[in-house]
């Protein structure tokens, strides 16, 4: 991992992109990293495009601006590719991860000339199979970790189980489903 990894999330209000960014900060913190997770706020509106950010670093983070040249971009909702310039500033040696059943080759034409790595993950079906519902942010979080390699798979899985046990203390029945969604998504994009 280089000194600071910058990740930008694109989603729609209500899909959990902000939560995913905060969860990523959380899980990276547990491995001893310096982290930053924050949304770009406007008046909250369900369905409106939103952006969230992560900085993961080996040294304390002092910058408090948004991220303009991210190493990775995560797109939680495929339909945003038309409305938002998601690859703006994205480093060519980085990657974009898109929630879609399509292949990277099918997605690339929508990326306004981006020449770096394109990863697709069908977070919707992974979530529906594992959880019975469409909660794309959990699989997308796993995909972001797998692609960015901000931590290894085993510590990610172990830390997330712990987080879920805490988060879902009152409904433990959903923990296994969430873990399956994570592991399936991780496996789907891991190379």
């Amino acid at each position: 991992m280089k000194n600071t990894v910058e990740i930008r999330w694109h989603g729609r209000g209500g899909q959990g992109a902000k939560t995913a960014a905060l969860l990523l900060a959380d899980v990276c913190f547990k491995t001893g990293a310096y982290v930053q997770g924050f949304p770009e706020y406007g008046p909250e509106r369900m369905g409106a495009p939103i952006t969230a950010f992560n900085r993961i670093s080996r040294t304390p983070i002092r910058v408090h601006s948004n991220i303009y040249d991210p190493d990775y971009v995560v797109v939680v909702d495929e339909t945003l590719l038309h409305a938002v310039h998601v690859t703006d500033g994205l480093k060519e040696n980085g990657a974009i991860i898109v929630n879609t059943p399509k292949t990277p080759d099918e997605i690339r034409p929508l990326l306004r000339g981006y020449r770096g790595r394109v990863v697709t993950v069908d977070a919707r079906s992974i979530s529906e199979q594992a959880l019975g519902k469409n909660f794309p942010n959990t699989p997308m979080l796993a995909a972001a970790v797998a692609v960015s390699r901000v931590m290894d798979r085993d510590s990610f899985v172990a830390n997330m189980r712990e987080s879920f046990q805490h988060k879902f203390a009152k409904k433990p029945e959903v923990i296994d489903g969430n873990m399956r969604a994570l592991e399936d998504a991780f496996a789907a994009v891991d190379e």
């Binding site: 924050f38 949304p39 706020y41 002092r62 910058v63």
Partner: protein
């Protein structure tokens, strides 16, 4: 502040947003009363404190009031009654408290308010700038600004020992940048409950209203023959706050290992060019200064922490040996010549006979992002002015579509 010996606290490594951090500190200090009314981006603070209370983790009386005017009125009543009191607000909420802010200070009530800085309308906007806090700059409150979640946590813990000191007895505003730090999760080192409780001590006012047999009237009318002396006494208390703020910071360092003063000087010892800035953007400025230093620039940052009382002499001394300073205001004064920091810093420089190039910039209004590139542009302009005599426009806006 408690006279007991300060105990060095164990460090608890955590990650939290600024609002979570200040709420955590409130739980630890556990004031007696908190009247509050929700407003973005400070809403989470009363929300989290209410949750702590509901979960039995703290014993504070929370009063849900119908407006910020009522919140500060209730805070004044409660503090005058003898209870350690606090509230939280932002933007228009602080503006609605305006009249009461002055009463809290002039009645010498050591209330603490955590302000999550958000712009004042209009155009209506929910994002960060300092116009709310700056609008209240002459209300007689001590104002302390934070760069990040760690600082707002640490500043809150120091607030009551400053406010309640017998030679101060003034309310304190603990400020942090709305959304930029209030909603950003970052690493933080927390202190142990026991250490914080001991540090904050308990509130033991000499005079208070709920004190049978010792009646007291608070806020009586003063005729002109008394008013001016009363105001001068209030000003003296603000002067006294200088020493107390430093004394409390010293004790805080013994407990936490973290050092605080009126301001932080970052790589300024030999700096030719200094950016004077307040709040979260100071972190961004430090990052840019490190990059400029690698390119051979002698650049530094002076980050204001204590805005009231204003440390003008210390600032002037810190800037005495540089060639040029950029005074960064996250607020417009509409006075036609500068922002609030611009006015006060240049007045301080003049009075202390420091005649350096001083340029006032307005940045980051209504949440406009401020990046390391913007910092570098400002430094480039300072250098061109000082070294090549390139005229520089005073009271200039950064990152504005001209």
């Amino acid at each position: 502040m408690s006279n007991l010996e300060i105990i060095r606290s164990r460090e608890i490594k955590e990650r939290m947003s600024g609002n979570e951090a200040v709420s955590y500190a409130i739980r630890q200090v556990e004031p007696d009363v908190m009247p509050a009314f929700p407003i973005t981006p400070s809403t989470e603070i009363p929300q989290m404190v209410s949750a702590y209370i509901a979960n039995g983790q703290m014993d504070t009386d929370f009063i849900p009031v119908e407006s910020e005017h009522s919140a500060m009125s209730a805070a004044i009543g409660s503090e005058a009654a003898g209870a350690r009191t606090m509230t939280a607000t932002s933007s228009a909420g602080l503006a609605l408290m305006w009249e009461e802010l002055l009463l809290a200070a002039s009645n010498r009530l050591p209330i603490v308010l955590t302000l999550v800085n958000r712009t004042l309308s209009g155009p209506i906007n929910i994002n960060c700038d300092h116009s709310d806090g700056m609008g209240a700059r002459d209300t007689g409150w001590i104002q302390i600004y934070a760069e990040d979640n760690q600082e707002v946590y640490d500043n809150y813990i120091q607030a009551y020992p400053i406010a309640e000191d017998p030679c101060v007895r003034l309310p304190v505003m603990i400020c942090q940048d709305g959304f930029i730090t209030s909603h950003a999760v970052q690493n933080i080192c927390l202190l142990e409950d026991e250490s914080v409780k001991k540090f904050a001590g308990t509130y033991e006012p000499e005079e208070f209203m709920l004190n049978p047999g010792k009646p007291v009237s608070v806020g009586p009318y003063s005729i002109s023959n008394y008013e001016m002396e009363a105001k001068k006494n209030q000003e003296t208390a603000m002067e006294n706050a200088r020493g107390v703020i430093l004394k409390v910071a010293e004790k805080f360092e013994q407990m936490s290992g973290r050092k605080y003063g009126f301001f932080e000087e970052y790589r300024t010892e030999d700096a030719d060019y200094i950016m004077l800035i307040m709040g979260s953007a100071a972190g961004t400025a430090k990052e840019a200064v490190d990059e400029l230093r690698e390119e051979g620039w002698k650049a530094g940052v002076l980050k204001i922490r204590v805005f009231r009382p204003f440390p003008e002499k210390e600032i002037a001394d810190a800037l005495r040996n540089c060639r040029a300073v950029a005074i960064m205001d996250r607020c417009e004064s509409y006075n036609g010549n500068s922002g609030p920091l611009g006015s006060e810093v240049t007045a301080g420089l003049y009075r202390n006979r420091v005649f350096i190039e001083a340029v006032n910039y307005i940045y980051g209004l209504g949440g406009r992002d401020f990046t390391t590139d913007h910092v570098k542009e400002v430094f480039a302009e300072l250098r061109a002015a000082a070294e090549e005599g390139v005229p520089v426009q005073q009271h200039k806006y950064v990152n504005l579509r001209g």
